[in-house]
């Protein structure tokens, strides 16, 4: 009898625990995991990849650019990034270096000059794509946004991120759909200061080594109808990139 009661009690506790663990993750916890996977402890320390950027205008005109991208976690949820254009020929060797939100540099090979780009340029679209400079950065969401859990299903959580007071981020609100399995975003609905939906980003995630990384990102500008697709290939992670990679010196070296 006692054995039966004990078994039942254990079973009950087990079920209760399972139920709690299924419901129990708070929005903050989920967002923390996303930040860790994107730019924190669970993210690659550094990454090198080839990015193919396809920009399709509202009228259907298509432009394709290939870049080599290096990124490195810089601590505190921030990251450093270097991009060099490989094609088309008229933009080959143009380089973009982002050391922080207010330290961005552009290298123009024909003039052999590096120019620092003003920080409030981050709202400008990157080379005519639908990604702003800020979109391409990889800072932690939780530094600037307060999350709330809007829903979930078997595969995803849906968080609503509201910009924190005092934050200088561009977007007032982001509806973030996170993959439970990859702990990475799969969809972002981005709202501007007036609350209007302005962009929708969709992401497909893949594997690089032991990490889950985005391999395809699509951004659509809801108002203009244009869209940009970034396809990541030749992804290499944790190669021990040195600080020297993320310097102005390296910025002006020819793309390989």
């Amino acid at each position: 009898m006692n054995k039966k009661i004990t078994t039942l009690v254990c079973l009950g506790i087990f079920c209760l625990g399972a139920g709690i663990s299924a419901r129990g993750q708070s929005a903050e916890e989920i967002l923390g995991k996303v930040d860790a996977a994107v730019s924190g402890a669970a993210a690659p320390r550094d990454m090198e990849a080839v990015m193919t950027m396809t920009i399709t205008s509202a009228s259907g005109a298509v432009k394709t650019r290939r870049l080599r991208v290096w990124s490195q976690a810089a601590g505190g949820g921030a990251s450093r990034r270097l991009m060099k254009f490989l094609s088309p020929p008229d933009v080959r060797d143009i380089g973009f270096l982002s050391l922080s939100d207010d330290q961005m540099y552009l290298y123009l090979p024909e003039f052999r000059r590096i120019r620092r780009i003003a920080s409030h340029n981050k709202s400008e679209n990157f080379v005519g794509s639908d990604f702003s400079y800020e979109d391409l950065g990889a800072s932690a969401f939780s530094l600037s946004y307060a999350p709330s859990l809007a829903g979930q299903d078997d595969a995803t959580w849906t968080l609503v991120l509201e910009r924190k007071p005092g934050s200088d981020k561009l977007y007032k609100r982001i509806r973030l759909v996170v993959s439970k399995e990859a702990l990475l975003p799969v969809r972002m609905e981005i709202h501007d200061n007036s609350g209007a939906l302005v962009k929708v980003e969709e992401q497909e995630n893949g594997r690089a080594g032991s990490y889950r990384v985005p391999v395809l990102i699509r951004m659509k500008d809801v108002k203009s109808g244009s869209r940009t697709e970034l396809v990541m290939s030749d992804i290499k992670v944790d190669r021990g990139l040195t600080d020297e990679v993320f310097t102005q010196r390296n910025l002006q070296r020819r793309a390989q």
Binding site: A61, D90, I94, R112, S123, S129, Q248
Partner: protein, 971 residues
């Protein structure tokens, strides 16, 4: 034939009246499709090349459907945080509308500035400052930027403008009415003064004025014609039936218009006015005959007899009037074509309704109408008698006077001015006139003037260095054109960027250089207005100060000549570095000469037209171009020391070195090494010497040497530009010399003869070129070309329609009377009338416009009616009496009063147009009044005198009954 027709109508009067009712209901159902369209660009023929280009630039660049929204706060300053924020929000909200192509205002005009090593490219009002100091800085900056002033802010800083470009494909007028106007009024209406200028807003106001005119003028003319009819007939039926005829005809005409989706324009209000004025004649003549023939108990017989007598002349009159209107179908302008065809249909409807409704209704009438004791239009009898006596006694004197009048007014015709500028049509003080005034005074106008540039489809399209230099050259042509504002193009954006990045306001000398700079501009909204997505076409945009027709003609003509002279043949690219010394010298000299031309235009424009010795400037520049700076020259070395120092001391320098080592390296790089023919090996050696051995990399050193070579070349080019400036500075007008914008542009021009690219017309030099500039064509477009074409078509339409109307009328009259002599005689009174009317235009300074150009055709078509009736009367009387003199006297008796009564009714109708909101209709109405009165007078003076002198009839006696003779016989 007419008897059988009359019998048919009378016997089947109920179905006939029913059919009229059914048709009226059918047309009524179409009224929901009535629309306005007062965009004058829609009136140019579809196949016209100017229109095709207008459509191209409109669709691809949103260039033509510009609305300039000009505003200033009701209280306070333009540069206040709240007002700036409102303008910024309004700019954003307007941009989000689906029908809006682009909006440019102070909020989002490009701000390109370098601060230290930082480059900023952003919207000007990224954030709105809220401190007085920052606001003042903002104001000072904005008023110092020439591409802001007269564009988005007025020169005195008291007005702001939002340039709203609408998508050409959608309905711009509807977009203005339903999207732009409500939003602007909501955001600014209560707190600011707002004005609008530009074709879509002008057309919107035209639509409102047209609607107002239709609502006011049509009832008024109906009332006036009623008065005249009552005065003439003194009975209700004499008023009701003629008015019913024209009422039904007008109703059908608008339904017809709606059925075929023809749009109403600014001259549409003239259609019902014309119908009421002209079409009432058929009812008047028919009612007059019915009244004379229907005194007995057999009403139907009287109606039949009246139809038989009156139908032929009124059918002829209608046919000739229709012929006069149809002459407009050959006009090139759609507004005129549509008006002519519509009016022709209206007259046809009036004729059909008159010959069916009146007989059917009168045959059905039960009540016996009391006959008026007085004859219709009895009031005109004394005047008719005076005219009859004068003509019968002195026909040759009358003819002589007619000839003198004709010749006098003919002499004034060449003085007629043409006016196709819409803005001039509005009442003074109306919103479009006020807006045009503000635009002209504070923003250099609101009328787009553009140059369309098409590349030959090569990969880089307009992003080619050579082609962009030609775009810059073409845009500088506009500086020579009076009335044209400062041009703006992608070349200006590239030059501005180059200046901020590299210190030179010039187009880079390589395609890759252009592509590098273009990289910064990708995605910026204003680029969409300047370059197509595939970069194969671009636009230079400017504005015309006003749309006055003489200015438009002048701009179109001068700019067309300049473009043909400059770009009639191919242009080639040359690379002096790849040429021999002699060839390079030849190329640089030719390039300096071309630069001198552009410089002259800049100097005159920025010098406000002050004297400028272009020839001496050219000579000096060619001389300077013969000796480029050497690396060893002091000014070059000084510049090189600066730029080398920036490079060696920067974080981007490829080698890790302490400051002292860098300074030693710097000293080594300059001096003898720098002056070698090819300094790069020497520099590599210097780097190997000074860089830490562990850090040294041959590839990096070679790359650094290339950077130094580029910097040295830039220093040489800058030194050349500085020397050239010194050489010509004393020739520049003082204002141009002191203007920062002028200096920047001139320095950029002066640098180009020393850089790596020259762009010259084919055949200018013997040296071999490196290829053709990929330019396919440069053509002007925008308001000046549209209005110039409209002006051309207006004149062409006038001449064509007059000639056609004359020929058609002559042939019709000759065919109907089987006599060429009679055909010519019939035309003479009308020719005198038309000459007098058009001579009055020249004498009184009334312009020829879309409405007044129709006077000739209308005068012919309408005035000939009087001739037809009078000649018909003479012919019938001649058949009775056998004597021409008696026949003419009888025609006066029979037709004179009706002609005068009818001309009075018609005149009243046209007088009403003097109350129109739009000046073309007022002028048209006034001149038609003169024309109708003159036509009536000529038909009762010149015509009978000519008949008595020429004697064109064959005599046939005793075959026609006198009027009313059938009645007398029966009784």
């Amino acid at each position: 034939m007419w008897s059988r027709f009359a019998d048919f109508v009378i016997k089947r009067r109920t179905p006939v009246l029913g059919a009229i009712l059914v048709l009226s209901l059918f047309f009524a159902l179409q009224y929901g499709n009535l629309r306005y369209d007062n965009r004058l660009t829609q009136w140019i023929p579809e196949e016209d090349e100017t229109l095709k280009l207008l459509k191209t630039t409109g669709e691809k660049f949103g260039a033509n459907e510009l609305i300039l929204v000009m505003t200033r706060p009701a209280e306070g300053d333009v540069f206040s945080p709240s007002f700036l924020k409102t303008v910024k929000d309004l700019t954003r909200e307007l941009r989000e509308h689906r029908d809006v192509f682009l909006v440019t205002s102070l909020a989002n005009v490009p701000y390109i500035e370098k601060s230290g090593d930082m480059l900023e490219i952003r919207d000007f009002l990224e954030t709105v400052p809220d401190t007085p100091t920052r606001l003042e800085e903002l104001r000072a900056y904005a008023l110092g930027k020439e591409n802001y002033v007269d564009n988005v802010v007025s020169g005195d800083g008291r007005w702001l403008a939002l340039a709203v470009y609408l998508k050409a494909r959608n309905d711009p007028i509807r977009a203005f009415r339903e999207e732009v106007l409500p939003l602007v009024e909501e955001r600014l209406g209560r707190r600011a003064e707002v004005h609008y200028s530009g074709i879509p807003s002008d057309a919107y106001f035209a639509d409102r004025f047209v609607a107002s005119d239709l609502g006011r003028l049509v009832p008024l003319i109906a009332f006036l014609v009623m008065l005249v009819l009552y005065f003439s007939f003194r009975r209700a039926s004499g008023v009701v039936y003629p008015l019913l005829v024209v009422g039904v005809a007008s109703f059908w005409v608008f339904g017809f218009m709606a059925l075929f989706r023809w749009k109403m324009t600014l001259i549409t209000p003239a259609v019902p006015v014309l119908l009421i004025a002209l079409g009432s004649e058929y009812g008047i003549h028919l009612m007059d005959r019915i009244q004379a023939e229907s005194s007995g108990p057999d009403r139907a017989r009287g109606v039949r007899e009246a139809v038989k007598q009156v139908a032929p002349p009124i059918a002829m009159a209608a046919l000739t009037t229709i012929g006069g209107f149809l002459s407009f179908s050959t006009a090139k302008l759609r507004i005129i074509q549509d008006f002519g065809i519509l009016s022709a249909w209206g007259i046809l409807f009036a004729l059909i309704v008159a010959l069916t409704l009146i007989p059917a209704a009168r045959a059905s009438a039960r009540k016996e109408e009391k006959q008026s004791a007085s004859r219709p239009a009895a009031g005109f009898t004394p005047l008719v008698k005076v005219l009859s006596r004068a003509v019968m006694r002195r026909p040759r004197l009358i003819l002589a006077v007619s000839l003198i009048v004709f010749l006098f007014f003919l002499a004034w015709i060449p003085r007629i001015e043409r006016e196709v500028n819409f803005t001039e049509y509005y009442p003074p003080g109306s919103p479009p006139r006020a807006g045009a005034g503000i635009a002209q005074e504070h923003f250099g106008g609101a009328y787009p003037l553009t140059l369309y540039v098409q590349s030959d489809g090569e990969a880089q399209g307009v992003k080619s260095a050579g082609l962009l230099r030609l775009v810059r050259r073409a845009s500088n042509l506009l500086l020579d054109i009076d009335g044209a504002g400062l041009p703006y193009s992608a070349a200006d954006l590239i030059q501005e960027l180059n200046f901020q990045l590299n210190g030179s306001y010039a187009v880079p000398d390589t395609d890759t250089g252009v592509a590098n700079l273009w990289f910064f501009l990708e995605g910026r909204a204003e680029l969409g207005q300047l370059v197509t997505e595939d970069a194969s076409e671009c636009l230079v945009v400017a504005k015309a100060r006003s749309a006055a027709t003489p200015l438009m003609r002048s701009i179109f003509s001068r700019l067309g000549d300049s473009l043909r002279a400059e770009f009639g043949g191919p242009w080639l690219e040359y690379r002096p570095a790849g040429l021999s010394a002699g060839q390079a010298s030849e190329v640089r000299a030719a390039e300096a000469a071309l630069a001198a031309e552009e410089l002259s235009r800049l100097a005159v424009r920025y010098g406000d037209g002050a004297d400028f010795d272009a020839a001496e400037t050219r000579r000096r520049l060619i001389r300077i171009a013969g000796s480029l700076p050497s690396p060893g020259d002091r000014d070059v070395l000084e510049a090189a020391e600066r730029v080398f120092g920036d490079f060696v001391r920067s974080e981007a320098f490829p080698f890790f070195m302490d400051p002292a080592s860098r300074e030693r390296l710097l000293r080594d790089l300059l001096g003898a090494r720098a002056t070698a023919d090819d300094p790069r090996p020497g520099w590599v050696a210097a780097l190997r010497k000074h860089a830490p051995a562990a850090d040294y990399d041959a590839e990096l050193a070679a790359d650094a040497a290339e950077t130094l070579a580029l910097r040295l070349e830039e220093a040489r080019t800058a030194a050349f530009a500085a020397r050239a400036w010194s050489a010509i500075e004393d020739l520049l007008p003082e204002r141009a010399r002191r203007d920062e914008n002028a200096r920047r542009k001139i320095m950029g021009l002066l640098a180009e003869p020393a850089d790596g690219l020259a762009v010259l017309p084919e055949g200018r030099v013997a040296a071999p070129s490196s290829g053709r500039v990929g330019l396919l064509r440069i053509e002007q477009s925008g308001t000046p070309s549209a209005l110039a074409r409209l002006d051309h078509f207006l004149l062409l339409s006038q001449v064509q329609s007059l000639a056609l109307a004359l020929v058609v009328t002559f042939l019709l009259m000759s065919a109907m009377r089987k006599s060429f002599r009679l055909g010519i005689v019939s035309l003479v009174p009308i020719l005198v009338t038309v000459a007098a009317v058009y001579g009055t235009l020249g004498l009184a300074g009334v312009p020829l416009d879309y409405a007044t150009m129709m006077i000739a055709g209308l005068s012919l078509g309408v005035g000939i009616d009087y001739t037809i009736h009078f000649v018909y009367g003479v012919k019938r009387a001649l058949e009775r009496t056998g004597s021409l003199e008696e026949a003419v006297a009888a025609a006066y008796e029979e037709k004179g009063r009706a002609i005068l009564a009818n001309s009075l009714a018609v005149t009243m109708g046209f007088l009403v147009l003097l109350l129109s909101s739009m000046s073309p209709l007022r002028h048209f109405g006034g001149m038609m009044v003169v024309s109708m009165l003159l036509a009536a007078l000529a038909s009762l003076t010149t015509l009978p005198a000519l008949l008595l002198w020429v004697k064109p009839f064959k005599r046939t006696a005793g075959t026609a009954p006198a009027p009313g003779a059938a009645l007398k016989k029966k009784s």
